[in-house]
Amino acid sequence: MSPAVRSLEVVKARMALEIAGLYAGYNEINILWDIHLTVKEGKCVALVGSNGGGKSTLLKTIAGLVKPSRGNIHFDGADITNLKSPQIVKHGISLIPEGYKLFRGMTVHENLLLGAYQIKDRKLILDQIEKIYEIFPEMKERQKQLAGTMSGGQQQMCSIGRGLMSNPKLLLIDELSLGLAPLLVELLVKKINEIHKKTNMSILLVEQDVETAFSIADYGYVIESGHVTLQGKAKDLLENPTIVSSYLGL
């Protein structure tokens, strides 16, 4: 192997997620237009932009819940474009959906177990659950409580925990802060940052609140009407006044 080829291989290995020329939508309604995006291994990237822009659709497409009509998605060098969600989870991608989407009539513990339904090793599952309980002690206290009876913040913790149960390499988070009190958001941001540091997990985060987004992410993409209109380092984006016009259209 020539050195040039080898260095290319190295670069490729550092890209956890690579999206190229992606189009996707619902039935005939196209939402995403020619999206190019990468998440480097161990990095945290945010998708920001006003509502209706296609941020959630992008996460759902990566997770296999929405089928792309064109373009491709690579993860750890493997083409996952047309895989089904369970296979995508097996590749190491996990989605924390908007609005928690817990099994409300099941306990916290049962919800967490479901996050690991593809893992067959019982001991591995129990170890993983203990790790979740270490991160969120409140979930341990409430492990027998029905998920639907908890507050929004507690449900978000449980949802994050469930997403972590498959021990993903890439965590997709759809709206961490939506509808939650500022203090709780700060706590969740702290927890996500801890997890990120400890595990070197890559994170792709959808977040409308830009400060919250960039208190976690070091790189960001601004999405407007299904197009990437701006991208750059968190610091640069926060200083860039055009971010307001990409949200508000003027």
Binding site: N27, S50, G52, D209, S225, L238, I243, G249, L250
Partner: protein, 253 residues
């Protein structure tokens, strides 16, 4: 210009949720009003309340001086208010022309029209909405861009004074959005007043004379697009409170 629509302290609740809370604003004849706000802020509810699909729990709505709260949607349509639906509602099994002729024969001037005149009106409107070449297609065979235009055409065929558009640009390509903007501008030039709900911010800001911002069911701001994008409350609602605070501290613009 005269006031066309007066909305005064209008509220609509679903259980404990105030989808529209004490909304007050006027729309003048000939205006294009943009209606924006985060998901769940009450935009579609407001359209439903104006058209009589929902009845306001309190407050007054007057259209050309007449109280319309409590009237049924078809009566309100015949007074001159028409709407499109975010989730398109074509008459399946009928052709494009038949869909639009239905509006022409039903609406404000419908009872004075013969079938022939209704079809003529439909053809005119189809030309305006740029789908006249699809007139003999069954609606189920149309692309989404054409169904969205059909949605506008059906509403326009009822001869409205006020047209309410609910996300007619969602899912369209940039070229199709430009077309839609041209159609809207043309409709406005014909003397029709418009209230446009839209997520495509560039489009809504480009076309609106004034913009109304709803947030959690309340009216947060109303003004021309230039004022709206500078409004601190609006920036907070969209980008977050901390962003505005930090920007102020750093003295940036």
């Amino acid at each position: 210009m005269d006031v066309l629509l007066e909305v005064e302290n209008v509220s609509k609740f679903f259980g404990g949720l105030g989808a529209n809370q004490n909304l007050t604003f006027n729309i003048e004849g000939g205006e294009i009003i943009g209606l924006i706000g985060p998901n769940g802020s009450g935009k579609t509810t407001l359209i439903n309340v104006i058209t009589g699909n929902y009845t306001a729990d309190s407050g007054r709505i007057r259209f050309i001086g007449r109280d319309i709260v409590g009237l049924t949607p078809y009566v309100i349509n015949r007074l001159g208010i028409a709407r499109t639906y975010q989730v398109v509602q074509p008459f399946v099994g009928m052709s494009v022309l038949e869909n639009v002729a239905t509006g022409a024969l039903f609406g404000r001037s419908g009872k004075n029209r013969t079938l022939k005149a209704g079809l003529e009106k439909a053809n005119e409107v189809l030309a305006l909405c740029r789908i006249v070449d699809k007139r003999n297609e069954l609606v189920e065979n149309l692309t989404i861009a054409d169904v969205k235009r059909l949605e506008i055409a059906k509403a326009m065929a009822t001869d409205p004074h006020l047209l309410l558009l609910d996300e007619v640009m969602a899912g369209l390509s940039p070229k199709e959005i430009d077309d839609a903007l041209e159609i809207i501008a043309k409709i406005n030039k014909m003397g029709v007043t418009l209230l446009v709900v839209e997520h495509v911010m560039k489009a809504v800001m480009a076309i609106s004379h004034r913009v109304i911002v709803l947030h959690q069911g309340k009216l947060m701001a109303i003004g021309n697009p230039e004022a709206i994008v500078k409004d601190e409350q609006v920036i907070k609602a969209y980008l977050g409170e901390k962003y505005v605070t930090r920007r102020k501290k750093s003295g940036g613009s």
